[in-house]
């Protein structure tokens, strides 16, 4: 039976237009911010002349990095560059004005003198001897390796060895609300209104940058219009920019980016270049892999260290590979800064490993699902980093996919449905993914639950609701632990003055971390109420059941007190109805010293999934339509099944964009498609049937067994689609996205190789016909 679904707590305000987003907020005397950005990919700033800008009516001030309390150091993207711009879009100066128009006019009048430096526009170039150094040392941001068993020997002994190259592109998050922040000065500090995925981290960072104490910055989170991994560094930088203006002028200041500004300056998904070599026995058992990956970090470090850490752990896909070499480097270039985009290194390596598995299966004449069953992680399997895998849900996911697609039959039948110009194909992909931050990071969250004397409940959480349904998740958890109606619970939106730190909404960690903290907090309240109930009902605590807004004696359903009575009893004793939960994730390990992570436990838990796609490919144009998509995900325990299904569907939509149309085209570091007219995300007409399937293989660490889903939902959509395209046209696309041009090219290659096969086939048919004729002659049959 499916679990109970909960209505999203934020839905009514949003669909009625009542939700207040940051750009809806107005303040008296408010200034408006515009950013002057470097038009050069790499340049020294010789001089900034602000005189003309200051003459523009309405302009109040022009500010540069020299106006910040400190010179920012390190390799993360600064609020404003000190003397060197490292990509097109790097912030150089700020203009504050009475109106947005005046700020825009003022920004046009700021004269920046640049000395143009040579730029680096590919990770390969960045590694060449003599390449310009982007941050004063090596261009290598991060370097992780795995060396297990003896790959070289295993390749020599393998029955089949395949080598393939894959590449993936930079993509944009596509959050509907662009980056925005308002800073409001107080006598003793600042209030900042900013939609971000990491409000407490942003508060701390802004305080540091502006030389304030953390309790002097009050970060308030209005409704947010999407994140998908964005609104991390960009939110911090914009908050600090408006904060700086507010401190210097004593007036509130708002900054909001246009779509073009958001695309030019904001972070993107890391483009990967990947070389995979795999060895296997003729029965399809993997014996060795050698994987080499270059990730383009762009101009600054930010999350590249952990993105590449995830990539090295998950590079093999969810398979046992006894002999393994992996080498992953993150490299600086003078391109747009890469950071988190829903998936954080997983979609790139999944794209490669899952296409490779299909090609290996083809090579061996095996079924794609079977080769994954054969090699996939089982309970106790050893991972690439030598970790013993527990609570492995892969086979459950593969079985569910098999059943939902009717895989074997459909694979045969789809060829019969195919004809003329439209070719159909079916493909699949499988995944595992480390939960939460991992790689040794501190990973914690707090939740504060305050039951009011009338039995209503207010929750203070540091979890950023970015549209993923985090608040509703908290309600689901708390109402289940306390046995109360969800309508009783109100979630206070984030305010750093009242809410405990919940960490960032990243790494699909919200449910596990804040959900667990909510369980701990609710358990504390439960303890307090149990004491009241024990006294009133005269039973021992083990016999009490919390359900239906009551606390009941398990042996006598007529012996109960209502939740209100229990809370009232609690306050009557001079106690309170409060609970505070702080959850800290189990320890994980990583080797930051040498970068060799062959023996690490990088994540405390893993999630599993299997996706399948049916596509139609137009042979004349290369146009692909994903006519059916099945997303199977092991979520441990579905806290809110409707939300789970929608999150899977949303992930599929995003993955279809990654697979087919989304592509930030860069020329010498300049993004060519800077708005939605040219950056093409799928529309509702590009999404056909999507079937989300929930698998519940309870995890040991999540609240009520739940696991994270945000990023897994999109991680293997692209390879499932690319495998289906290959099935449809008999030829493969190796570079993302599978654009019209690339698919058409593959169609042509497929036709050429088919023509070659056909001529061989004709020979065969000719021979067989002659044999056939002979046999029919023998039987005395007439041929017509």
């Amino acid at each position: 039976m499916e679990n109970k679904s909960y209505k999203r707590v934020d839905v009514l305000a949003k669909v009625r237009g009542k939700a207040k987003y940051t750009d809806d907020l107005r303040m008296e005397d408010m200034l408006h911010l515009k950013v002057i950005r470097s038009p050069h990919a790499h340049a020294k700033i010789k001089n900034i002349d602000v005189a003309k800008a200051l003459e523009v009516p309405g302009v109040v001030g022009v500010y540069t990095a020299r106006d910040l309390p400190f010179k920012q150091s390190g390799t993360n993207r600064p609020v404003l560059v000190w003397d060197t711009a490292r990509y097109i879009g790097d912030g150089v100066a700020l203009v504050a004005a009475e109106s947005e128009q005046a700020a825009t006019q003022g920004a046009l009048q700021v004269e920046v003198e640049y000395q143009i430096l040579s730029g680096i526009f590919s990770p390969e170039r960045a590694l060449e001897v003599g390449a310009e150094s982007i941050h004063g040392e090596s261009n290598v941001v991060s370097h992780w390796t795995i060396d297990r068993g003896d790959a070289q020997k295993a390749f020599a002994l393998a029955d089949v060895v395949l080598e393939r190259d894959y590449s993936t592109q930079a993509i944009y998050h596509g959050h509907m609300e662009t980056e925005v922040a308002i800073a409001e000065p107080r006598v003793d500090g600042l209030n900042i209104y900013c939609p971000s995925k990491l409000p407490t981290i942003a508060r701390n960072a802004v305080a540091g940058i502006l030389n304030l104490k953390q309790n002097q910055v009050r970060m308030i989170q209005p409704a947010i219009g999407g994140s998908f991994g964005a609104k991390g560094p960009d939110a911090i930088i914009l908050s600090a920019r408006v904060g700086l203006v507010a401190l210097l002028t004593g007036r509130p200041c708002k900054g909001v980016y246009t779509r073009e500004e958001s695309i030019v300056e904001g972070t993107k998904r890391h483009p990967f270049k990947m070389h995979y070599k795999v060895g296997a026995t003729k029965d399809g058992k993997l014996t060795a892999m050698d994987i080499r990956i270059l990730a383009d970090a762009g101009a600054y470090c930010n999350e590249t260290i952990r993105v590449t850490a995830r990539a090295v752990v998950e590079a093999t896909g969810p398979y046992v590979v006894p002999n393994l070499k992996v080498d992953v480097k993150g490299v600086y270039t003078n391109q747009v800064n890469a950071d988190a985009v829903r998936g954080f290194g997983s979609p790139q390596v999944d794209y490669a490993s899952e296409q490779l598995m299909d090609e290996l299966a083809d090579e061996l004449g095996m079924d794609a699902l079977e080769i994954r069953r054969l090699n996939g992680f089982k309970e106790g399997s050893i991972s690439a980093t030598g970790q013993e895998m527990k609570a492995v849900g892969l086979d459950d996911c593969l079985d569910a996919l098999d059943e939902t697609l009717d895989w074997k039959n459909r694979k045969k039948q789809i060829k019969e449905d195919s004809g003329g110009l439209i070719r159909k194909g079916i493909g699949m992909a499988a995944m595992f993914r480390g939960e939460s931050k991992g790689s040794g990071a501190v990973d914690t969250a707090g939740v504060n639950i305050q039951t009011q004397p009338d039995g209503s409940i207010i929750v203070y959480s540091g979890l950023a609701e970015v549209g993923q349904g985090g608040y509703t998740m908290l309600i689901s958890v708390i109402s289940q632990v306390l046995g109360v109606n969800p309508d009783r619970i109100h979630i206070s939106s984030y305010d750093s003055n009242y809410c405990p730190d919940g960490g960032p909404t990243v790494a699909s960690r919200g449910t596990v971390t804040s959900g667990n903290a909510a369980v701990l907090a609710a358990e504390q309240i439960k303890e307090k109420l149990i004491q009241v109930a024990c006294e009133k009902l005269g039973v021992v605590k083990e016999k009490l059941v919390f359900a239906d807004d009551k606390i009941t004696d398990i042996e006598d359903e007529n012996s109960s007190i209502t939740f209100e009575e229990a809370v009232d009893g609690c306050y009557a004793k001079g106690e309170n109805g409060y609970g505070y939960g702080w959850w800290s994730a189990p320890e994980t390990t990583w080797n930051y010293e040498t970068g060799d992570v062959s023996n690490c436990e990088p994540y405390f838990s893993y999630v599993y999934g299997a996706n399948g796609a049916e596509v139609e490919v137009n042979l004349a144009t290369g146009k692909v339509d994903v006519i059916k998509f099945v997303g199977v995900h092991d979520v441990g325990y579905a806290l809110n099944p409707e939300e789970v299904k929608n999150q899977i569907a949303g992930g599929v939509n995003m993955g279809i964009g990654y697979a087919l149309t989304e592509d930030l085209k860069m020329e010498e570091g300049a993004i060519q498609n800077v708005n939605y007219c040219h950056y093409l995300m799928p529309t509702s007409l590009d999404i056909h049937e999507v079937i989300p399937v929930i698998v519940e293989h309870a995890g040991p660490d999540g609240p009520l067994g739940a696991k994270g889903l945000g990023e897994p939902a999109t991680s293997i959509v692209a390879p499932a689609i690319l495998n289906a395209i290959a099935d449809a046209i008999g030829c493969r696309v190796y570079d993302l996205p599978a654009s019209l041009e690339r698919v058409l090219e593959a169609v042509r290659e497929g036709e050429e190789s088919r023509a070659l096969n056909m001529s061989i086939e004709k020979e065969k048919v000719f021979c067989e016909t002659r044999i056939g004729q002979k046999s029919s002659e023998r039987k005395g049959m007439q041929s017509c």
Binding site: G420, A620, K623, T661, C677, L680, L685, D686
Partner: protein, 291 residues
């Protein structure tokens, strides 16, 4: 810097305003192209004259053998109009394929024609028909054939005191079939990589009438006469249609600026690959033949 926004309530007033602001008054109707240009900083008009309140530009009606469509008719209105659907289904399809619904609710046929974008969906469809445009200034009306009006990419023969008021389309003969098809990177809200309109009449198993027009290939949407001439009077066959596709491609190669052919942004490499097949497939579909 924008200083004046004028909104005439009838044609008379509009013409006067246009003349008074000669050279500076920028005409807009749906403003869908205009706003884009403005936000991109490609234009910087002093004065806007908004034609969206002119009810007289909103009519669609039959007049003898002509369908007369007011320049202010929106894509959505065009798409929903029964008369257009009955006589010019390709125009209905083209109107329905433009941008997103919000764009179609504002964008007008007049704007699409005067914009003269190489990939304008309506221009591809209209090019397949006999179309006369009615232009008006303060003193008089003027008629001009569509093919004489469109001079190049985003370039048309309109004087800066003139307003396009009507698009007159000759209704094709009964029994003529027609189709509009658009190739784009996604299924909605996307510009055409190539759009193609075909009109076909068949009598006694022979092709008695044929029009083939394409947009988004050459700088202007236009007919492909070599292919049309090949088809005319012949019996429809697979080979004939393939040959028509090949001839259409030839025409592009002949007429395109040789420098353009190498311009990756214009996408000629891909377009030339798919164009012959699109033409032949369209003809096959219209004659219900299998590839």
């Amino acid at each position: 810097m924008l200083e004046r926004f004028l909104q005439p309530l009838d044609m008379e007033e509009a013409c006067v305003m246009l003349r008074e602001n000669q050279g500076k008054g920028k005409l807009v109707a749906g403003a869908t192209d205009f706003l884009n240009e403005l936000h991109q900083g490609r234009i910087d008009p002093d004065c806007i004259i908004d034609l969206s309140k002119l009810g007289e530009l909103k009519n669609i009606g039959r007049e003898g053998e002509e369908l007369r469509i007011g320049a202010g008719v929106t894509m959505s209105e065009l798409e929903a109009n029964e008369e257009v659907g009955r006589h010019l289904p390709a125009l209905t399809q083209a109107a329905g394929s433009v941008g997103a619904k919000q764009t179609r609710n504002r964008a007008t046929i007049g704007g699409n024609v005067v914009g003269a974008s190489p990939g304008a969906d309506l221009l591809s469809a209209l090019s397949a028909f006999d179309v006369t445009l009615i232009l008006r200034n303060q003193d008089s009306n003027r008629e001009i054939r569509l093919e004489n009006f469109i001079l190049g990419a985003k370039w048309c023969a309109i004087a800066n005191d003139e307003i396009l008021v009507e698009v007159r389309v000759k209704i094709p003969q009964e029994g003529t079939s027609m189709k509009f098809r658009k190739l784009s990177r996604r299924n909605a809200a996307s510009v055409s990589l190539l759009n193609i309109t075909c009109m076909l009449g068949i009598k006694d198993k022979l092709i008695s009438d044929v029009r083939l027009a394409m947009g988004a290939v050459l700088p202007t949407a236009r007919r492909y006469q070599a292919a049309e001439q090949l088809l005319l009077g012949k019996s429809p066959t697979l080979e004939l249609f393939y040959e028509a596709g090949r001839l259409a491609k030839e025409q592009v190669l002949c007429e395109a600026d040789p420098d353009d052919l190498d311009d990756l942004d214009l996408g000629y490499e891909y377009k030339l690959k798919v164009l012959p097949n699109l033409v032949s497939n369209m003809l096959l579909e219209m004659t219900e033949m299998e590839a």
